[in-house]
Each structure stands twice: as structure tokens, then as C-alpha cells.
Amino acid sequence: MVFALAGCTKKNDNTYEHVKQSKTIVWGIRADTRLFGLTNIKTGKIEGFEIDLAKALTKQMLGSSAHAEFLTTTANTRIPLLKNHNVDAVLATMTITKERAKQVDFTNPYFPAGSSLLVPNSSKITNVKQLNGKTVLAVKGTTAVDDVHKYAPKAKVLQYDDYGQAMSALKAGQGVALTTDNGLLAGIAQENPGYKLVGGVYTNAPYGIAINKGQTQMVNHLNTALAELKKNGTYNRLINKWFKGIPGFDVKELLK
């Protein structure tokens, strides 16, 4: 079975034609971020806002018989996997940046986000500039790393493969703060009492769905589907389902 999967080739020039024919979209998602995409230990399934959104987009685009497949990625595997056609689209808390836009195409933003800090309750740190000369923890391949370099150039940054390891390192005292997008940190804070978000959101870095460079047709169809989901209330329902009542989120703000 494994080698059947390994053996088949899938270099289609047009991603949209390809997914339309197979009625399947392979989504690159995350499994280590509460609220967005997290493995449920009871069922082994990955659950979160992005998973639900991916399913809804698939059906909206290709009809109700279409099927969403998921491949777990990390911040440092998602672009290579997209470029080498392992996944059709990446819906994995990925900030739209100029640098990335040279490598991949993005849809319109589907979620507002920006860098923030997570520190122990006892910490005296209140904003990112105070990190100069201190050690900050981050995840490999995230924009938060660049933000720290920009706002606190003298901070030392240690980078890990996923949020689970980065948070464990913070608990082990390997650094004074964990930095990434506010939405992810809110999810982490929710499951780790004794830690708080500080410093506000000091960048504006919304998430977009990433598709291979030059796949304009796929981008357009995803944008249309996203707009329709917003219009028909599905998007609102999903935002409410995952973020209502979670500290750090204002549902009204998200739906603006």
C-alpha cells in the first residue's frame, strides 16, 4: 500500500484541473496548534478551524461529493511540500509575506493575525523591545522569527520543529518568551495555565491559503469559494464554533 502511494506520479500542470478531475483536494494542514488544527488523542483525528474550513472549501468548490484529504505539515515543511506537489494547497496558519509570495501564490486573507508573545505569569516582560539580550523561542520557518530580529535585534532566537516542542522548551526555561501569531498563542495559553499573552499584536500578518506559483485558476476558484462561504454564513458559523468565548479573541473583530 505504501509503495502504491509512493509509486504514483502526480505532476499535473494545472492544479485546478487536477483537483476537479479527482474530486479531491490534498490540503497541507497543521496538527500542533489548538483551535486551528490539533490532533485529538481520543480519536487520532485532527480537528480545528482550518480543518473545517478546508472541508467546506472543498465542497463549495467541487460539489458535495468532493473529498478533502489532509497531510500534516510543519512550518518548515509546508512550502517544500507544496512546491514538490505533495499537497495541492496549504491551509496551515501561513502568513502572507512578500518573500513567500515570490515562491507561492496566496488567496485573499482568511484570518487576521499578527506576532505576539507568550510568557510565564511571573514574567516582567511587557513588550517585544524588552527581549533585547534575552533568549526567545520560536518555530522554524515562521515570520515571528523575522519580527523578533526586526524589533529586538539583540535577542537570541532558538527555533524548534513544532509548537509542542517550543512550548515544552519554554516550560523547561530554555528561553524567556515564546513568539508566534496571537491566534496560535491564545490556543497554547488556553491549555497551559500560568502563561499569558503580552506585548499586544505588533505586526499585521493575516493568513492566506498558499498554492503553487502560477496556478491562477486555482487561486481564483478558492477566492470565489471563500467569498461564497462568507456570504452564506458558513464562515461565520465556523468562526463562532472555534473562537467564541476564547480569551484573546473577539468574534466580532474577526468577522469584520
Binding site: L5, L71, T77, L81, N86, D162, Q165, S168
Partner: protein, 219 residues
């Protein structure tokens, strides 16, 4: 102590066992395939066929001298560029088979070399073909000598599956990491139990091999 009791709830144990199962079947498939690959390439290298053996030898030396982690990256990110789509499981197995196969080829080559060349000559002069002499005379002795080295390579392979967490293969270590990153107080119980699980699997493999070795001796 209470943390341990909570951490070892059936839900968590069940989830860990799922990870253990992936570790075991990825290991088993890789052991079998890398052993076959190791035998073939070890023989090719030993036989000193013009050009072929030199090229095989060079490739094996390159692979043996690279970190497995790098080979995992090559199979996961690189193979798709050649048009071969891999999932995490396939990429991990291919990487393990290539890397351990190269390590085993070297063990096989030195194992065969350790058998007195006189035996081969004797068998050949008694009318056996090269293949027959290899199969009936040289290989059985060589394999017997190789058992300890083969075995510790297989144990290494089982341990090395843990490196595939880097491409999110849902094996034992990765599943433990998921549990303790959602419940960070469980970090110690998780490392304790997976250390025990890895130990049991590797130790059983060692026991099985020494059993094999004894049986070989009796024959």
C-alpha cells in the same frame, strides 16, 4: 505519582500504542527490505566486477557517511521533484532502507571477506558454480559470523525511526510529543513509558537474534 496515573489513562496508552504500531511496522518493512538490499549490494561489492563494484562501493560509502536525518529530507522533499510522490510513511521507509541498506552492505561485504578464500576455491574445484559455492558454503558461515553486527544494525534501525518525527511520521515519539504538548505535566510519564517501550522492542529483537544464533550453532 498521581500525574503518572492520570497520564497512563487508557486514552493516552491507546494513542501511544498506535504510535508504537507505526514504529514497529515501519521498522519491520525496513528491516526486511534493507537486509535484501544489503545482501545484494554487499555481494556486488565483494565480487569485484569491473566498474560495477567500484560504483556501488562509492555510492554506499557516500550514503554511509551522511546523517540519516539528511537522507530523510532527501526522500521526503527530493523524490517528489523526480515525480515520485511520497507520504511520510513511504518517505521514512525509503530513507531507512537506503541508509540501513548501505550500512548492512558494508557488514555483508566484510562478513564474506572474513571467510577464508580457500573455502571458495575448494568448493569451486569440487565442481560448484560461484553461486552454488556462495549459497551453500560461504554464505551460511558468513551469515553466522555477521549475526551480532546485523542485529545491532537492526536495533539501530528501530531506534532511528524516531528521527522521522521531523517529517511528522506518526510514530511512538511523535505521539508522545502530541500528548505532552497538550498536557505538559505529562512530560515525564511520557518519556518514561516510551523509553520502556523502545527498550522492550529493541531488547526482544536482541533476544530473538541470540536465539537464532544458538539455533545456527546447533545445526
Amino acid at each position: 505519582m498521581e500525574t503518572f496515573i492520570h497520564a497512563y489513562s487508557w486514552v493516552d496508552i491507546h494513542f501511544l500504542l498506535q504510535g508504537l504500531w507505526v514504529t514497529i511496522y515501519v521498522s519491520l518493512i525496513s528491516i526486511i527490505l534493507s537486509f535484501v538490499l544489503g545482501l545484494i549490494f554487499g555481494l556486488l561489492r565483494y565480487m569485484k566486477i569491473k566498474y560495477v563494484s567500484a560504483i556501488v562501493g562509492f555510492v554506499i560509502d557516500i550514503i554511509r557517511n551522511l546523517p540519516l536525518l539528511l537522507i530523510i529530507f532527501f526522500t521526503y522533499f527530493g523524490l517528489p521533484e523526480l515525480g515520485i510522490v511520497t507520504n511520510q510513511t513511504a518517505a521514512s521507509i525509503i530513507a531507512l532502507v537506503i541508509f540501513e541498506g548501505a550500512m548492512l552492505a558494508e557488514i555483508v561485504r566484510s562478513g564474506i571477506s572474513s571467510i577464508d578464500p580457500g573455502q571458495m576455491e575448494g568448493a569451486r574445484s569440487n565442481g560448484m558454480t560461484f553461486g552454488q559455492a556462495m549459497y551453500h558454503v560461504v554464505m551460511p558461515q558468513a551469515l553466522h559470523n555477521m549475526i551480532p553486527a546485523l542485529l545491532s544494525q537492526f536495533v539501530s534501525l528501530v531506534k532511528d525511526t524516531s528521527l522521522a518525527t521531523i517529517i511528522v511520521l506518526p510514530e511512538l515519539l511523535y505521539h508522545a510529543q502530541i500528548i505532552y504538548s497538550q498536557n505538559t505535566t505529562y512530560i515525564i510519564p511520557m518519556y518514561v513509558i516510551i523509553a520502556v517501550m523502545y527498550f522492550i522492542v529493541c531488547f526482544c529483537l536482541s533476544m530473538f537474534a541470540s536465539y537464532l544464533q544458538k539455533r545456527f550453532k546447533m545445526d
